[in-house]
Subunit: 111 residues, 2 copies
């Protein structure tokens, strides 16, 4: 029996893909942010905040910064008056969306 036949001898360790995903988009808000931005070419800060029920400035700003650092979103600042900032999903994030939609469907069907 080859190693590939075993799904996971152990999970959650160093190189575990699931663990990496959880570290990147785990937590209460990041997945919701991705869902909120799906289908929009670009969204402004306030627009995202209004879309996500219950999120606070603290959490939104912090999540956006981390997701930018992880290469999931792009931040574009326009130095107008007043300032305008737009966020867009990167290709990496876009490739994740279909999976999140499946999760959503599963949740609606089973929960």
């Amino acid at each position: 029996m080859k190693k590939k036949d075993i799904i996971c001898e152990t999970v959650g360790g160093e190189g575990c893909g699931v663990r990496k995903v959880l570290n990147t988009i785990g937590g209460k808000w990041k997945i919701l942010i991705l869902c909120a931005m799906h289908g929009h070419a670009a969204m402004r800060y306030g627009e995202i905040r209004r879309t996500i029920v219950g999120i606070t400035n603290t959490m939104l700003a912090q999540s956006l910064r981390e997701m930018e650092a992880d290469g999931l979103i792009l931040r574009q600042q326009y130095d107008e008056m007043p300032v305008r900032v737009e966020y867009a999903l990167t290709e990496k994030a876009t490739s994740l969306i279909p999976i999140l939609l499946e999760l959503k469907d599963w949740g609606e069907k089973h929960l």
Copy 2:
């Protein structure tokens, strides 16, 4: 434009599927538990614990109880001496596994 054309007017509220999923299998361990149990007809407590790197008794026991309450796993206790307890995935949980594997693949490819 029909409402269905909009992915989510708002997300994270009452009936939001994604929010439900996060409430059910969010957190640090539950997704890993599901991955660990995938492919096994039944697993004993200690076996699960050894499979998941870093998990403690507290978190494993608590997670298993909650997942049983949510209908994701079945708990079968054999009153032998010493006690033997086996856990198995329900059909509901099994239907979630493919999505988790996609997440895992995404993580390995992109992170």
